[in-house]
């Protein structure tokens, strides 16, 4: 090809921009995401509080304490809700409508703890004393792709962190769509 000129870059980027997705519903989807993250964080925080109570109780019984006899490390709850199931981590992506028909229970999953901020798997960790929840299937997807966990406001759909990008993105979009529809139905 000829050496790229600044004009070619302008034309390329302008042509690319013309194919951008439709922005319809962007505000609603964004607000839904904000609300979902709040719910998910609340769920995660509840789990963390339970874990901290358990760990704190064990530490108290063992006579452990932080430096100077004060409390041990503090916990910051700012991760996406995540679980471990059969060696794979699943991250909550959407709060969706509970299935109309019963779905298969897959077994117990361990609730991950939170080490830092952000929605990516790097922010969560596998605790030594995990809280356990019942993982169920999600209609239309295999357990290696999506799990669900009961939630007071619906069903949390969790996506496997091990899926390759080309599989993960369409499932993520479908879950977010299902979450938006459930949010619209419950608002």
């Amino acid at each position: 090809m000829s050496t790229p000129t600044e004009q070619q870059l302008r034309e390329l980027f302008a042509a690319d921009a013309a194919g951008a997705p439709d922005p319809g519903g962007l505000a609603a989807l964004t607000l839904h995401r904000v609300r979902r993250r709040r719910r998910v964080r609340t769920t995660a925080a509840t789990g963390l509080i339970a874990a901290v109570v358990v760990v704190g109780g064990v530490a108290a019984v063992r006579g452990d304490a932080g430096p100077g006899g004060g409390p041990g490390p503090s916990v910051v709850a700012d991760c996406s809700f995540a679980v471990w199931f059969e060696g794979t981590m699943y991250v909550a992506e959407a709060l969706v409508r509970p299935p109309a028909a019963p779905v298969a229970e897959l077994g117990e999953a361990e609730v991950a703890s939170c080490n830092d901020t952000g929605p990516l798997p790097g922010g969560v960790a596998r605790p030594e004393t995990p809280r356990r929840v019942t993982a169920s299937a999600y209609p239309g997807y295999g357990p290696e792709q999506v799990l669900t966990v009961a939630d007071p406001d619906g069903v949390l759909a969790l996506l496997s962190a091990d899926l390759p990008r080309e599989q993960r993105l369409p499932i993520l979009a479908a879950l977010q769509q299902a979450g938006a529809e459930w949010a619209a139905a419950t608002d």
Partner: protein, 164 residues
């Protein structure tokens, strides 16, 4: 200005910028929603800013660069991006050149590509690019210069390889 009014006015340009930056529809939607969700959470700061669209654009650029850092170790583009879907829109040679240019751009470092997008798509001057990326204007100039030189060098090398 309400959040909804802001998104109605600025959502489309933000989504287009996200699409040009990522080259992927799903990632672009995710990126735009991430930036707007951040904006919603800090809405007072956004509305108090001298230029609210620029403030949110900076959030989007930062989120993009942050994602690229976190994903670069596990994900590599294997195909042409979604932005290459305009093949039917013009003469074959021009489209082939665009596809080649996209591949050359994909080979640049994320920061270099972002500088070129902000300069040649968003039409920002170096000071505005520096503001959006949180770097100095001289760093922007140096990055842009190196990126263009890299594109030209790679293009020349490929042309030499294609020659009989």
């Amino acid at each position: 200005m309400t959040f909804e009014q802001f998104v109605a006015a600025q959502g489309a340009p933000l989504l287009r910028l996200a699409f040009v930056l990522t080259g992927d529809r799903h990632l672009a939607e995710d990126l735009a929603q991430t930036a707007l969700a951040d904006a919603y959470r800090h809405w007072r700061k956004v509305t108090a800013a001298q230029d609210p669209p620029a403030y949110v654009r900076r959030m989007l650029v930062n989120a993009h660069l942050s994602w690229r850092r976190r994903r670069s170790s596990t994900e590599r583009p294997t195909d042409l991006p979604d932005t290459a879907a305009d093949r039917a829109a013009g003469p074959g040679d021009a489209l082939a050149e665009r596809d080649q240019l996209r591949m050359l751009l994909a080979g640049l470092a994320p920061r270099a590509r972002t500088v070129l997008v902000l300069r040649y798509y968003a039409d920002l001057d170096d000071a505005a690019i520096a503001e959006a990326m949180g770097v100095s204007a001289s760093a922007v100039r140096a990055t842009a210069s190196r990126a263009l030189a890299s594109l030209r060098t790679t293009a020349l090398a490929e042309t030499a390889q294609e020659a009989p």
